[in-house]
Symmetry: C2
């Protein structure tokens, strides 16, 4: 049986070459909006199809840059791809995700540029970042339960995930944000599917917004996301750390790092989010 | 008289709406390739024209994501733009930079997605990063002179810049890289033009590659760049810090931060570069 994530990102060939059709499901939503990570992974799946064939197949996203235009909704979707360059070591392409609009026209949800390669080609690790020290998953806070008392009820997306928050960065879920703007967690799919390069793009955007730890409870829509997949993940738990340092003009950057179960750094990202700062808000001391 | 940077990024209306023409000059090259920051700033200038008009003008790049396809060369260029969304607070567009190819066709140099806004709209700074502590510009190492003994002669680009390296991170220029993968510097245009949001995109890519500080002397072509402009810079020197933590499979991320002369954080970026690691290379101790 296909995993939930494979079902969510499943594509069929569209009417034209390089075009694919699929469907966004409410199962992966936060409020009415489909999670941006699912939108990105769906686009990335289309690019894997297009760039993963030919004499120099490049099936793995190495750098993926997305700008979000409108919220994805439950329903049919289309991905249009354009190959910009096929190289020996890297290939670059664009993906445009659209859905039917209310007036019959197409509405663009997200556009992405991505450079693909092959992560199985010799990838010696010359320098890296060690995983942060954290209690075991069993000693961490199960996010699906913790969030009951937090800033919002667990959205459908949270049921797709097994997310265990480091207790030292989970205070926000109990109404006591640390004010440091950081979170650490173990994360994996709830149905046991292991991570791969495509799903790393999803995981990079799967954590609750780090602004929760600043005492800013509302959602933080992503304007721009840029993720780098640095290695093929080993099976098992992923370890993830997010943080933000700069909050100005209602915009916040959020950086994420993901390590696999062997402690190898496998992905990193930065996104720029829009946050609505409550009147009189000050960072918690 | 127009500044060198304004001359380099000057555009004329092209044949179609949303299309512009310009010229890349050898003055801004490193070897045969036009500096990627100039390519980005030229594309950003086109988007400022397109998004900076209308009832809700958004003339400032807030998030700029570029994938590089081939090296820009001395000669005519064209920028084709497409507006993806005009919003109340943000607008998003795409820019494609091409030049004439050897066979008469057009060759794409770079494609970018960008979200623009207005940095003059109330931009309270709620959280930020303090500038790193550094000796004054007069006490720093003038890069144009220091590089004579370094891994390569100063390319034409360096004459457009006044770049003063913090002595504690300038060892690489004297053949003694620190191995930490970091650089700090004061930077400004050599002709005295002050920085603005457009030129911050250029500065974010103007430092020598941080791989020099790892003892890897070759050039480090950018595959992907993502930059965020977080504030309008005050006149005067910019202060800049770059670092890299992860080098795997011949790919290195390089993070950059820029502060203005008042110490305000005004821009940050991350790029993924390709580096050629010499046989038997190990990070300097």
């Amino acid at each position: 049986m296909a995993s939930e994530f494979d079902t969510a990102t499943r594509l069929a060939p569209g009417a034209d070459a390089g075009t694919f059709t699929g469907r966004f499901a409410q199962d992966w939503a936060i409020g009415p909006a489909v999670n941006g990570g699912v939108v990105m992974a769906t686009a990335a799946a289309a690019l894997t199809r297009v760039l993963g064939e030919g004499p120099t197949p490049h099936a793995d996203p190495l750098a993926f840059s997305a700008h979000f235009l409108s919220a994805g909704a439950d329903g049919d979707l289309r991905v249009d791809t354009e190959v910009l360059r096929r190289g020996r070591t890297f290939s670059t392409a664009e993906a445009v995700v659209t859905q039917d609009g209310p007036d019959g026209g197409r509405v663009e949800r997200m556009r992405a540029l991505a450079t693909y390669g092959d992560l199985d080609v010799a990838s010696p690790v010359h320098r890296s970042v060690e995983p942060v020290s954290m209690p075991s998953p069993e000693e961490c806070v199960d996010a699906a339960q913790a969030r009951t008392g937090g800033p919002m009820q667990a959205p459908p997306l949270m049921h797709r995930l097994d997310l265990r928050l480091d207790p030292s960065t989970a205070g926000w879920a109990m109404g006591k944000p640390s004010g440091r703007g950081q979170m650490r967690a173990w994360i994996r799919f709830a149905d046991g599917r292991d991570a791969d390069p495509l799903s790393l793009l999803f995981f990079l955007d799967a954590m609750p917004p780090v602004s929760f730890d600043l005492g800013i409870g509302g959602w933080a829509p992503t304007l721009e996301f840029s993720g780098h997949v640095r290695g093929r993940p080993a099976p098992g738990w992923l370890q993830m750390a997010t943080h933000s340092s700069i909050l100005t003009g209602g915009l916040m950057e959020e950086d994420a790092l993901i390590w696999d179960s062997r402690g190898a750094l496998v992905a990193q990202s930065r996104q720029l989010c829009s946050v609505r700062i409550p009147q009189g808000w000050n960072p918690p001391a």
